[in-house]
């Protein structure tokens, strides 16, 4: 789909496209974003069925191959020819980078954890099996964010490949890395610097730790890189095409991660304006230049709006609020606060060390130490007279402004994945200056820079072995010696027992974050956010038991990682009313996990809500009339 659009846009000018790698990466990222938009519309209108999804994937794959085969052939020839100028040190460094890149496959043996099991893959599983997109019970607010990766996960699950869904962020990030390298090449960085950039990306635990978890942050990072690249293309002859692509990619990036609105948009604005004002065509008067900037900006805005439209439709259909969650106070998006004042002060005072060595709440990973090690090298670069004409300077400035805006407006939210595209953009000036010094006369830099990079690559790879990379488990999984459930020993077997014990449509009183392993109907019929809020308002055990039973819940799972609701239930088990019969079902595989079954011995106490199939195969809550 991306390739079709690229061909349409480039043929308008009859100009040759960019290099095959950039063309393929752009087409891939753009295509996946647009396809996700189509999946979103299909899912919202309950048309995400195998009859539609499978032929669509088949037809688009054939079209993609037919339109890109020339680029693929040229690219494969380029990859085969390794330049002889690569010394053995660089060959070792390059081999280690390639090993780390390929090691991502082994995160297939990793257990799906955290947000992946609670939301991203759980909602994908529900969409795949119910063929429609509905707010996920317990995570209704989160369903209003842009859904992109989740819909691809759903399509891959529909094709019977949850493993492909788990690994899907990997090819996406590779395409993103190609775009970042393309941007660095435009800024003058050659092959040594580009391998250093790859080493910096793939030794950043903020990147590595997102592999195989089901988290979706790398989609926005990759689309962001592509948007940055095309923004700087505006200064060249293909400015109309570049403006359209920039707009579309900005929209798709925002769908992939709404938090980018703070850091990414300002840094993009700087790049777009700079790119236009410094274009290497004949000099024009400022007034004419600014007048010409207006239609270009309009193209970018229209492109962004077009890309965002399916997201607005989705939110309008599901929540009657097209602009959710931005204009919705209840979602908590506007007043996020992660760390207290003391910690926030510490984080900000320690920048950039906190980005490299910090381990704060929900941070999930750091920058590669190579960023910090090589950053002083920037100051050894010779000063240039016309600094504003320098792409490296503008890239650095735009990244720093984006990051500064983030830390001004969201100082307590410290997580590299929230501003990753902006942050990793800094690899260009850092790797560029390292390369500049390697190419100089001094042997110190020729030895020190590759040597320390090799050491970091080795230690990072070994540190993440059996934390993120699981080669043995992946082999066992791929050869059928290990099931999907064996990867998550802690909970999957217990949740499987619940799947086998309960009947279709029965309600579980739980807001467990491990819901991915539950049967789809159990996820669809689980505890909703409104029910949680109503439950928390109740004052006595009698009221709470009446509420739980009245809302049609028949089972309460109790896990060993507890939460406020589970603590209340454990207390209330000492005050069970006479009309309610409670029976405890032990888990044979894990004595710490229990399932509580409820039944009424009094016909006056009955459920007023149950879970039924009105629009099969999906399940939803239905009020019972007596």
């Amino acid at each position: 789909m991306g390739q079709i659009l690229l061909n349409l846009l480039s043929k308008a000018k009859q100009k040759p496209m960019v290099s095959p790698g950039i063309s393929l990466a752009t087409a891939y990222l753009l295509g996946q974003g647009l396809l996700a938009n189509i999946w979103a519309l299909l899912a919202v209108y309950s048309r995400f069925t195998p009859m539609i999804v499978i032929p669509t994937i088949f037809i688009l794959s054939i079209c993609g191959i037919l339109l890109s085969y020339k680029d693929i052939i040229v690219l494969s020839h380029k990859i085969k020819t390794i330049p002889s100028e690569y010394s053995w040190t660089w060959r070792v460094l390059i081999s280690l980078v390639i090993i780390l890149v390929l090691a991502w496959i082994t995160s297939l043996g990793r257990s799906i954890i955290g947000d992946g099991s609670s939301f991203y893959l759980a909602i994908a599983k529900v969409i795949a099996n119910s063929h429609r997109l509905q707010p996920l019970p317990g995570y209704e607010d989160l369903t209003s964010i842009g859904l992109q990766a989740e819909l691809h996960f759903a399509a891959l699950m529909l094709l019977g490949s949850p493993g492909a869904a788990q690994l899907f962020a990997w090819p996406i990030f590779l395409a993103g890395a190609v775009m970042l390298l393309a941007l660095s090449r435009k800024a003058g960085v050659t092959w040594r610097g580009q391998w250093l950039i790859l080493a910096m990306l793939f030794t950043s635990s903020a990147v590595i730790q997102l592999s195989g978890t089901g988290k979706t942050d790398l989609f926005a990072t990759s689309l962001g890189f592509a948007a940055y690249f095309w923004a700087t293309e505006i200064r060249n002859e293909r400015k109309t095409m570049a403006a359209w692509l920039t707009g579309l990619l900005i929209g798709l990036t925002l769908i992939a991660k709404i938090s980018y609105i703070l850091s990414f948009i300002p840094s993009m604005a700087i790049l777009v304006i700079w790119s236009y004002l410094t274009k290497p065509s004949k000099p024009e008067k400022k007034r004419i230049l600014i007048r010409k900037l207006i239609p270009l900006t309009a193209m970018i805005l229209v492109g962004t709006t077009l890309a965002l439209t399916p997201h607005f439709i989705k939110n309008d259909v599901l929540f009657n609020n097209a602009f959710a969650p931005l204009n919705e106070k209840a979602s908590g998006w506007q007043d996020q606060s992660w760390n207290g004042p003391e910690t926030t002060r510490r984080i900000l005072a320690n920048l950039p060390f906190s980005l490299t060595f910090g381990d704060y709440w929900a941070q999930i990973g750091n920058l590669s130490p190579l960023f910090l090690m090589f950053s002083p090298l920037i100051f050894l670069m010779p000063r240039q007279k016309f600094i504003f004409n320098n792409q490296v300077f503008i890239i650095t400035l735009s990244a720093l402004i984006g990051l500064t805006i983030w830390f001004i407006f969201r100082p307590t939210v410290f997580a590299p994945r929230y501003f990753m595209a902006c942050l990793l953009l800094l690899s260009i000036p850092i790797a560029g200056s390292a390369e500049y010094l390697i190419l100089g006369k001094s042997k110190f830099f020729k030895i020190m820079i590759p040597a320390i990079t090799i050491l970091v690559l080795i230690s990072s790879g070994l540190y993440h072995l059996n934390k993120v990379f699981f080669p043995r488990e992946t082999f066992n999984y791929l050869t059928g010696r290990m099931s999907e459930c064996d990867k998550a020993l802690d909970y999957c077997s217990a949740l499987n027992q619940i799947n086998q014990t309960t009947k279709p449509g029965e309600r579980l009183f739980t807001n467990t974050v491990y819901r991915y392993w539950l049967r789809t109907d159990l996820i669809e019929c689980a505890l909703t956010k409104n029910e949680v809020d109503a439950y928390r308002e109740l004052e006595s055990p009698e009221q709470r038991w009446s509420f739980i039973f009245g809302r049609g819940f028949t089972y309460i799972p109790l896990f060993y990682i507890t939460n406020q609701i589970q603590d209340t239930i454990l207390d209330d088990l000492n005050y069970v009313p006479n009309w309610l019969v409670i029976s405890k079902i032990d888990n044979p595989k894990d004595e710490k996990i229990h399932l509580i079954h409820m039944a009424s011995r009094d016909p006056n106490h009955h459920a007023v809500v149950n879970c039924g199939q009105i629009d099969a195969p999906s399940w939803e809550l239905v009020n019972i009339s007596y």
């Binding site: 435009k186 510490r346 001094s442 230690s459």
Partner: protein, 78 residues
């Protein structure tokens, strides 16, 4: 071919003092990195040579300095 050669091709000489300072900087960052994110082989080697206590003693102040936190967090959001 490069579309735009931003980095100048002639490099200036870098003084020995700067090189020593850079060597210390890069090595220090690497050691701190290794201490915080110790790969299993480092821990095994330290244990084998009876240096685990020394490693932990070095590690504690670094962890305290770079990762100390009151963890007063509340909201989960992607």
């Amino acid at each position: 071919m490069l579309e735009n050669k931003e980095f100048p091709s002639i490099t200036a000489e870098v003084s020995t003092t700067v090189k020593i300072a850079l060597f210390i900087w890069m090595t220090a960052i690497f050691i701190i990195y290794l201490l915080i994110f110790s790969p299993p082989f480092l821990l095994d080697a330290a244990k084998h040579f009876g240096l685990l206590d020394l490693l932990n003693n070095l590690r504690s102040p670094i962890l305290l300095f770079f990762q100390n936190s009151d963890y007063s967090a509340k909201l989960e959001y992607r």
